[in-house]
Symmetry: C2
Subunit: 501 residues, 2 copies
């Protein structure tokens, strides 16, 4: 039994090496690669991904998983061994359904699509990206058909990012959420002028912004001997091993929150990756449980910590010292209100906590419509703008600020967006439980102390990697199912306080 | 026939993808990777290299090469097709002799050795690197035995970097060279005080050094849409495709030549890589003919162009404008003499053109002694210091400035160093021929015009990639065999002028 486990781990380790090599190539593509590298990089990524896929779907892996199933081994459900076999068997069943050529085509198409998207966005011209997106939708339809589904074509795509979550479940949660958010946005709009964020829209020197963010995430516990931060067009976090976690961010010299909250957000992802148990290194379990769980970590550090009064009672004097010209006469309450200003806006990643989920709902709806053939890709900018008007009451003046703003589709990913909102909900469920377990947490945050929170997250969430499904993990940690209740209560309390209703 | 050629190219393309992915991982390791990433990176590189090796030594490749041999195809010797089959068959024969496990062990051992070397060098403590070097020598002995040899154990190792070159041939050339260089160094030493380079040893702002170097290599013709430059401890050039060529350099704020000539040198390598014919992309021929030929390109741009009077008649006023505080009162002749000052010194990469080859001879001798068991690794620092004393009359005060200065052994490479000196010889042979073909070349350089030189290099050398052996290429380009004659004549003329003897 031990021998078979070792053989499985050796095979999974080599597959993991190829996947991590591909991660390095993708990171380089988005941070440093010159444009001339795109075509060859597409081939390189295709070969790595195709090979990893071929190795994984080999009959030998199936035979090993069969021999190591729990009836034979009797391993404890929570053990590394049982978890490995359980999770990998689920992956294997799915992967066997996907033809290798489809995997390679995804890699090839999306590498070129990424370059086209970056250029289209720069020139605010959707038509340059359109043929690439058409191919990507077609590939996703083929992928969904290959994976199979009972209810919605979206189900198997969503399941890639949020295991065992269903489209109908998401739609139901989104309906509930919309019912709560719409009146809230309305109530806030009536008091829109009571919060002013003009202090954030001054010129802030880029290097100082960068350095301040780095200082904060060092305090959070991000280990720079096991990671680093670079610049990219669209911020992301990736990991090449538990000891090598890469954050990226972008800096806007004329808008302070972009880099600051981007850095805290990506750091939340990075802390998760750095906190996975070393015993899971180079297996398939050395990753987050799902994108929703991953996002719960980034949102927890960005919003529940980073946009709290307690946090700024500690950090605002430091920020003032870095930017005395911009902030010397400002009090912390004014700053707190400014960074929490609610306003329907065009760019998802810079949206406030109240309107953010309305951006997600638009993407969720459009993805379903594209996949079900209910909207033509050529008509997507129009549909996007109409949806923005309907959900948020504003329409983008151009495609760069509209349909071209996000990197995800250019990477071939559909079914990914809803996980952002699920992450928002889960972040509050986790944080509420952390506050119950650590009653002094608000005081600790107000003292710039995060070690107990980080330990709690590592113990309860990070170290487990992919051992548990998102639903299992939420239940284990909080005792409850996934719910919008905590999130809605948090939002209502926080913003009725700020806006005074 | 066409079908078999396509199949061969498909297989070689995928192997090339893995090798290029490994190149990205190595580049990242030396430029951006945090220390925590080392262990997992070693595994990733081992898997990539082992897999590439396994794919290459497959029986199917041998069968395709057999079927495509020239008796069957009748392809012209110079054609891409005949060259591909000819060169790959030679590679294949060698690769089949090397066990996959040895390749994987090389990757694993050297990735850790690189980290250990960097730390040992930082702390100037050879003992930290010693066990790694012992393993590396042992692996090279095993490699040489596997490849086989008739005369010297060094032969098959040298052949990896300089195809068809023999140890005895190198030793003979080195003996000739030594006989010329030793009296020259002596003559110069007697006039040592006639050249002063203290103007180079002032504080020069790092960013301005960087920017000046970039300006010059843009003039040379380095295409930044198909490449970039980053920082690393030891400068190197690597290529991820013909459209993505990466230079690295290092900057010393207190010594101007480090970054400046480092950048010109690496650019010479980079221009070679960028100039390979696109028809060779993703085959085995999209690389330099040998390290010696590669070095001829870097040395040509660094020394024959970059340390010439003509070059500085154009660029010195620009450099003065960048560093007025340091250079305002200096005339171009003083600067020209300073950058060409000859002095026995400790660091190879900063050695002048006259003493440089003496550094190489030491490494060549020590490598032979290590491989033949004539020196214990524990005694290497002592042997190094004794050799420096014998060859150059000076001994390093510590290991960082001595035996630990070069990256090569930590990367597992033995047999590499002599190619630097061969490159020096070939660079002058090529440049002499270029001057014959382009009589106005010195005037063009004095006008900061390099396009005709670059076109000549592309036409005669770059575009061919690995089609020809170094000996074939030197013969094709110059009509002569490899010789020290041109180099010795160049050195004597240049330095007797500078030192007045």
């Amino acid at each position: 039994m031990e021998e078979k486990l070792q053989e499985l781990k050796t095979r999974l380790g080599e597959i993991r090496d190829l996947n991590k090599a591909a991660a390095v190539l993708s990171w380089d593509q988005q941070t440093y690669m010159p444009p001339g590298g795109a075509a060859a990089r597409a081939e390189q990524l295709a070969t790595l991904q195709k090979t990893a896929h071929n190795w994984f779907i080999a009959d030998e892996i199936g035979e090993l998983l069969e021999a190591l199933n729990n009836d034979e081994t009797g391993w404890d459900y929570d053990s590394d061994e049982a978890s490995l076999v359980r999770v990998v068997a689920r992956d294997y069943e799915k992967a066997r359904k996907v033809p290798s050529e489809l995997v390679a085509e995804f890699a090839r198409v999306t590498t070129l699509a990424h370059e086209a998207w970056a250029k289209a966005r720069e020139q605010s011209d959707f038509s340059q990206f359109q043929p690439h997106l058409e191919k990507i939708v077609e590939l996703n339809v083929r992928l969904a058909e290959a994976l199979g589904y009972e209810d919605r074509i979206y189900d198997p795509l969503l399941d890639q990012f949020e295991p065992e979550m269903k489209t109908a479940h998401v739609a139901a949660i989104f309906d509930d959420l919309k019912a709560e958010l719409v009146p809230l946005v309305k109530a806030i709009s009536e008091r829109a002028n009571s919060v002013d964020d003009s202090i954030l829209r001054q010129t802030y020197e880029e290097q100082k912004q960068w350095d301040f963010g780095v200082e904060v995430i060092k305090d959070f516990g991000f280990d720079f001997t096991r990671g680093r931060q670079d610049k990219s067009v669209h911020p992301f976090t990736t990991s090449f091993s538990i000891g090598d976690v890469r954050l990226t961010t972008r800096v806007d010299p004329n808008y302070l929150p972009t880099a600051l909250f981007g850095t805290l957000h990506e750091c939340g992802h990075g802390l998760y990756e750095q906190g996975i148990s070393p015993s899971l290194e180079r297996t398939s379990l050395d990753d987050g449980a799902s994108l929703g769980i991953h996002e719960s970590q980034s949102r927890l550090w960005e919003n529940l910590v980073g946009r709290s009064r307690e946090f700024w009672s500690h950090y605002f004097p430091r920020l003032q010292a870095v930017f005395p010209g911009q902030l010397a006469g400002v009090d912390v309450e004014t700053f707190y209100r400014a960074i929490n200003r609610v306003e329907p806006s065009l760019i998802r990643v810079e949206a406030d906590e109240v309107t953010y989920n309305l951006h997600i709902m638009l993407r969720f709806e459009l993805e379903n419509e594209m996949l079900e053939g209910k909207v033509k890709i050529a008509d997507l900018p129009e549909a996007w703008n109409a949806g923005m008007e309907a959900n948020l009451g504003i329409a983008p003046p151009n495609d760069a600020l509209g349909v071209l703003q996000d990197v995800h589709w250019s990477g071939g990913m559909m079914g990914y967006f809803p996980t952002y909102s699920l992450g928002n909900l889960i972040s509050v469920q986790f944080f509420d439980k952390a506050k119950t377990d650590i009653p002094s947490l608000p005081d600790q945050i107000a003292a710039g102390k995060f070690d107990e929170l980080l330990s709690w997250l590592r113990e309860n969430i990070h170290r487990h990697g992919r051992k548990y499904t998102p639903a299992e993990l939420v239940k284990r940690v909080t005792g409850n199912e996934l719910t919008a209740t905590n999130y809605v209560a948090y939002i209502k309390t926080k913003f009725s306080d700020i806006y005074g209703f």
